[in-house]
């Protein structure tokens, strides 16, 4: 007989091993789909790997794809640390994209434009995230549902803008006019799409780690999440911590949108985010809510997405495999997390 038994502590190496186990399980499970599609499993995964991380150009493409997911992953990780259930990173990203695009369309010196885009985009994301947090603090409204529903509100607002007053008069398509050329984030390596925003994302992760692990606010966020009662007794204003967390989380998600507008698309369209906000939840869970873990987790998902397209061309396996991998990875990780709270014990039959 086997029995689940509660653990009192979790070994540190679990943080590294569990995501790897989850990813391995995911790849094994999804290999069934590759086989159904009539392709060789090793070949398909091989193409995926070489097309996403095999040469320097592929790596830059993967990093460009990873950047928004690093931001949304950080947004979700920090929010979840405080047990502020922000499912709304998608909407906050869109708000950041729209706001920064507005700014980027105003002619002004390039450096100023980029700086303002980042500030305004982050602020827009923060304002959106503040809504579910305020509703929870003031009215005890469940933040899961309210932050989720706000995604749809922001999406329709975006659509109303680009199909209405903000429609690009030049092309006539439902897309916004492009931002000024001078506001485009500089490309760091000639001949690639690797833009400044990617570096900012890579720097943001250790900064967020420092904030969570080493600052007073980070301490308050952690205590609020782990034990709000203790936090209250310890003189922490839990409501304020939740609001600060929401501002921070929303700002990070907003920056994801800024990067997409400033460095990748240079305008806003309906599919500017292929669900990067939801991917952020996958990234954050794979990272075990650790900001430093967000970077490899986001790069993994990005590699799967970039690699899937090449795999599809080479083997005929639909590129949508990357979507299945994403969902499976999240579920596998959740199951793996059980082992941090429980251990399997053999129970003697004679009892």
């Amino acid at each position: 007989m086997f029995r689940l038994e509660a653990r009192t502590s979790t070994p540190a190496w679990f943080n590294l091993v569990l995501p790897l186990i989850a990813i391995a399980a995911t790849l094994v499970l999804c290999s069934g789909l590759i086989a159904i599609a009539g392709a060789g499993v090793i070949e398909a995964y091989g193409v995926m790997l070489s097309a996403s991380l095999g040469d320097s150009y592929a790596i830059t493409e993967t990093l460009v794809r990873a950047a928004p997911m690093i931001f949304t992953g950080l947004a979700v990780a920090i929010a979840f640390r405080a047990k502020f259930w922000n499912i709304g990173a998608e909407g906050q990203l869109l708000a950041g994209a729209v706001a920064s695009c507005f700014v980027g369309e105003i002619p002004m010196p390039g450096t100023l434009a980029m700086l303002l885009m980042a500030i305004v985009g982050a602020a827009a994301g923060a304002v959106v995230a503040l809504v579910p947090a305020t509703l929870r603090v003031k009215f005890k409204v469940d933040d899961v549902v309210s932050s989720l529903l706000l995604n749809s509100v922001i999406y329709y607002a975006l659509m109303a803008l680009i199909e209405g007053p903000w429609k690009d008069t030049f092309s006539g398509y439902p897309i916004s006019p492009p931002i000024e050329d001078s506001a485009n984030l500089p490309v760091l390596i000639e001949g690639t799409r690797l833009h400044l925003g990617v570096v900012v994302a890579l720097i943001a992760a250790p900064l967020c780690w420092f904030l969570i692990a080493r600052t007073t606010l980070g301490f308050r966020i952690r205590v609020t999440g782990e034990n709000p009662e203790a936090a209250r007794f310890g003189g922490i204003n839990v409501q304020r911590v939740l609001l600060s967390t929401a501002l921070l989380s929303g700002a990070l998600a907003g920056l994801a949108g800024v990067g997409e507008v400033g460095g990748v698309h240079f305008q806003v369209m309906s599919d500017i985010s292929p669900g990067y906000g939801y991917s952020g939840i996958v990234v954050a869970m794979l990272a075990r809510l650790n900001p430093l873990g967000v970077v490899p987790a986001a790069i993994f998902l990005a590699a799967v997405m970039t690699g899937a397209e090449a795999m599809s061309r080479a083997t005929g396996v639909p590129a949508f495999l990357s979507d299945v991998i994403q969902g499976t990875a999240l579920l596998a990780m959740l199951v793996a997390l059980l082992f941090t709270a429980y251990r399997i014990r053999r129970v003697g039959a004679q009892t």
Binding site: I87, V141, D142, V145, S152, A160, L321, V324, G327, L331
Partner: protein, 314 residues
């Protein structure tokens, strides 16, 4: 103004409302059963999509519409069981699992659809359900063409609402569902299996979400597209809250939303676009968020919603 009015409220408007409300009613009832048992199912968006795809594919390959409906319902129930396995049996966090189920099932739906049908310039379609007029009743003025000359699935949805209310409020199983959603500890003491009841409710919910998906691809559009659900699952999440976790109120909320949606479609079609149609589509979400702020004071949500139950932990 009266010309505008006539253009919008012409014959067929009521019928359109009923048609739009049908998948929402199935999905909302499904989510309601799940939540009444204490399990939030954010997998709804993906479950509807996968069921819509599965039902469409089964019909497309077999030629039988009802086989397609059956497959959609079974797929929905299976995905419900998956969500229950994670959230009820393993006690994992419901919102994250729900997002996982949505990502997984929509990914699977896209993948399998592309695998089976390839990339075609014109999406394949099926000969979907046809309206079945009910003798005598369909001859009634106004209500006749609107309500009694519809698809069989619409009649099923109309019957599902009182049935759901009966099951929830008048049967021992319904009582168990409400107990495990309100106070699982007490239900457990009273000899109700919390785990089994929650499993059953989430699976029933998934089956209803499957019916919603089937309606979209087999009666409403007769084809599967990647955007066929396009947020209807999230709408259902909102409608359950707006309908205060009650079958009648939730169905009413579905009708209200369908009215707004039909109105928006009419205004778009008639070119009376002073107000962007997206403003209408936003309404249910905004209303629900505002309603939540007012409702929370008298706490109508099932008390044990989002809380896993582990017997040994007291």
């Amino acid at each position: 103004m009266s010309a505008v009015f006539e253009q919008i409220f012409q014959v067929g408007f009521l019928a359109a409302i009923v048609r739009i409300a049908t998948p929402l009613a199935f999905a909302t009832l499904g989510e309601m059963f799940s939540e009444r048992a204490g399990v939030l199912n954010l997998g709804i968006e993906g479950i509807m999509l996968l069921s819509a795809m599965a039902g469409f594919t089964a019909t497309s390959l077999s030629g039988s519409l009802w086989l397609g409906v059956l497959v959609a319902v079974l797929v929905g129930a299976a995905m419900g069981a998956l969500h229950a396995l994670f959230t009820v049996a393993l006690g994992l966090s419901q919102h994250v699992c729900g997002i996982g189920v949505t990502l997984f099932s929509s990914g699977l739906a896209y993948f399998l659809y592309r695998l089976i049908f390839g990339q075609q310039s014109v999406p394949p379609s099926i000969d979907g359900f046809k309206p079945v007029p009910i003798p005598l009743l369909s001859g009634m003025p106004v209500l006749g063409p609107a309500v009694f000359n519809q698809f069989t699935l619409v009649y099923l949805a109309i019957m599902a609402v009182p049935l759901a209310a009966f099951v929830l409020y008048r049967t021992p199983w319904g009582l168990s569902v409400r107990m495990v959603g309100e106070n699982p500890r007490a239900a457990d003491s009273a000899g109700v299996s919390v785990i089994a009841t929650r499993f059953q409710a989430v699976i029933l919910g998934g089956a209803l979400m499957g019916l919603a998906g089937a309606f979209l691809t087999m009666a409403q559009f007769n084809a599967f597209t990647f955007g066929v659900v396009s947020g209807r699952g999230w709408v259902a999440i909102a409608l359950v809250v707006f309908g205060r976790w009650d079958p009648w109120r939730s169905a009413g909320a579905a009708l209200l939303f369908a009215f707004v949606d039909a109105l928006q479609l009419r205004m778009q079609a008639s070119g009376l676009g002073h107000i962007p149609y997206e403003a209408f589509l936003m309404l249910p979400f905004i209303f629900t968020i505002v309603a939540m702020a007012f409702m929370s004071r008298n706490a109508v949500a099932p008390s044990a919603l989002l809380k896993p139950f582990r017997r040994e932990e007291r």
